[in-house]
């Protein structure tokens, strides 16, 4: 883990890091990865990865509308909306 990797993943995650904090972040992530690397102490080549504790199958249902449209209600929480649209800075020049 180094500064370059940290800024690359921060960029992927859309997070800005203060220059003053980058060293601390690198340091902490290194420690976390060291803890995580303890996983390599066991051989898992014969095991299947487990993504869900109960091995459930994805439930499907008929594709019918169940909920009413509540756009106005949901947009009350928007930091900036107008006429049903979300207002953001210009995307295309």
């Amino acid at each position: 883990m180094d500064k370059e990797t940290v800024s690359k993943i921060a960029n992927l995650a859309n997070i800005e890091l203060d220059d003053s904090k980058v060293n601390e972040v690198v340091n902490n992530l290194e420690k976390i990865l060291k803890l995580v690397d303890e996983m390599n102490s066991v051989d898992t080549s014969n095991l299947n990865p487990m993504s869900h504790p109960l091995n459930l199958k994805q439930e499907l249902r008929d594709d019918i509308v169940l909920e009413p449209n509540q756009r106005e209600l949901f947009q009350e929480n928007s930091p900036n909306s107008h006429d049903g649209y979300y207002i953001v800075p210009k995307i295309i020049d």
Partner: protein, 485 residues
Amino acid sequence: MENKTLTELTVELKSKKISSSELTKYYLEKIKKYDPRLNSFITLTEEFALKKASQIDTEISKGNFKPLSGIPIAQKDIFCTKGVRTTCGSKMLSNFISPYDATVIRKLNEAGTVMIGKTNMDEFAMGSSNETSYFGTVKNPWDLERVPGGSSGGSAACVSAGLAPCATGTDTGGSIRQPASLTGICGLKPTYGRVSRYGMIAFASSLDQAGVFAKTAEDCALLLTHMSGYDEQDSTSSRESVPNYLQECKAEFKGMKIGIPKEFLEGLDHDVHLIFDEAVKQLEKVNCKIVEISLKSSKLGVSAYQVVAPAECSSNLSRYDGVRFGHRTKDAENIIELYKKSRSEGFGDEVKRRILVGTYALSAGYYDAYYIKAQKIRSLISREFKEAFDKVDLIIGPTTPDVAFKLGEKLNDPIAMYLSDIFTVSTNLAGLPAISIPMGMKKNLPTGLQIIGGHFQESKLLSLAHEFQKMTDWHLQKPDNQKWI
């Protein structure tokens, strides 16, 4: 009033010995008096509570009594509550008014409970000390210089201090059991899928599960009965039928075979070890056969958890972009800057750290080495539990390696903080139910006994917890609130 169990309170409410309005006012007054020092609530819903209590009283006078009619409850601020601010302990959602109720909230409302407020928590449930909350640290009622645990620290502290008779919580790696242990109350994390996750703000979706805090195992059983069940809104909720947990936990106890994993006694504080040994002796008195077992891979639980949880969190928290809801920066010239600045201003350090770890673990070239490897460790841990439950009814151990730590003690050392969940994370990885109940005191600080069961064996673990509480009075001990006002 606060020494009564929920069952006793419902009897008094039903017989009109007390009204829900009286009970609600009693707790609201206590919160106003003591909570300024404790900081266990983010939002107090006084007006809402008094109105609901008065409606319930009218219903009771007409003879309409629901299972939890008139019982005040504190809700963790991770559950969406219609028309009420739902912050998840974050600046990101500090102004978010939920347009709908979480299923847990709806079910508890329908059962007659009265929400008195939303409790403080670690930001987005990421933390074990309640120190990462945007709304300030919660204090442990047993010692105001110590943490209450986390992430459901506010819920645990308010029940422990008698500011609410019960509260909800969520548990992704120990966030109900660890604070229950450190504050001397009961905290139940049900089987994954037992309770709907709809409207519960997501952290790590394959681990998250809602549960409860109360003074007794009986009270936990009563609440669980009314929270559980399949929900169309959550396709990972289980269709397993919901028994009457209260009845089952009070049924005649005939003894059990109980396993103690030797790994759960390693790295344990000496005094906590002695307290645990005493608890085991109590269980032997009621026809419990104790055997040593081994959960060899549980030691790797924290490592696997620190991949799975951040990976899922980095995906779940990508929804906070400053566009549709949540914090938006005032200062962005283009859309990418809007995302970046809104997220950087809205999230605290621990949340950012986990998003970065998760993004790294899921990124090209590292996915197999981290995420797939962690899921394989998860299979291994799960298999060892399964093999153990072929031999024993339940597994026990201490909930935490030591009592509550001092505020600030582990805040700048993420690894030390993560390791405080060492005995709790494995059950989340395997999706198992577990409860923490008070088992004794070390220098006036509580310790917790963790009881773990197989999938959907909540009745069994509640039954053992109830039996233990019939023989001991640790769950009746209370912190001295008078000392801190």
